[in-house]
Symmetry: C2
């Protein structure tokens, strides 16, 4: 079984068939599914799982820090299970495909105090946009 389920159990998660299936769907290195995709894949294994449960479970995984939400401009949010390895995203503006990338540099350090307006800045998100090879060719 995945480390993920172990960690979740350790945090007092009640382990239901539904949660197990959602976690299994998200198990992978470069997975960026939408909630509905997760639901479809989960339903392939557990046909009666409801949309609400998928949304609930994804929300919990995000709260627990096990999964990151990626908002891609108006489209449905995508869920990235690769939350334990710092990375940023490269998104195709045409088809919405997402790749994980690892830029150098430290953008947090690039924001001087006088540009923080008293905010307690806690994170930076860097999103690269462009066209993926397939869309560029088409």
């Amino acid at each position: 079984m995945s480390d993920l389920l172990e960690r979740l159990r350790g945090r007092g998660w009640r382990l239901t068939a539904q949660r197990r299936v959602v976690a299994e769907v998200l198990d992978g290195e470069h997975v960026h599914y939408t909630a509905d995709e997760v639901h479809a894949l989960a339903a392939a294994r557990l046909p009666e799982i409801s949309r609400a449960t998928v949304y609930n479970t994804l929300g919990e995984l995000v709260s627990l820090g096990e999964v990151t939400e990626v908002s891609t401009d108006g489209r449905a949010k995508r869920y990235d299970p690769n939350a334990h390895h710092a990375h940023q995203h490269l998104i195709c503006g045409r088809c919405g495909t997402i790749r994980d990338v690892h830029p150098s540099g430290n953008p947090l350090a690039d924001l001087p105090a006088e540009e923080r307006f008293g905010f307690a800045v806690s994170e930076v998100e860097v999103t690269y946009r462009g066209l993926c090879p397939d869309c560029a060719a088409a």
Copy 2:
């Protein structure tokens, strides 16, 4: 009249009362309204303006490069008329307030070729997140 309307007319825009009002609402330095806020403010001056027109007009302004869309995680998109001055955003995770910021550094240069996966990368968007002074105090 604003430069904006001049530029738009120069590009063959038909100047209607509705478009004028939307452009006026967006006239300002650090404005980040949602489409519905723009609609409400526009309707204060031109009561019969429709939502569809506001959406159409905002979409056109974005296409023309006069206004930038800012997606703030699931909430409604916001529209930033400050498109002619490169800048990034600092967003309060609690209340959604947006500030324009100007970090140093060049994140585009921070993405090595082997991390581009054949994409034609054209832009980078850096979003700082945290709590604004009001929300931090509350």
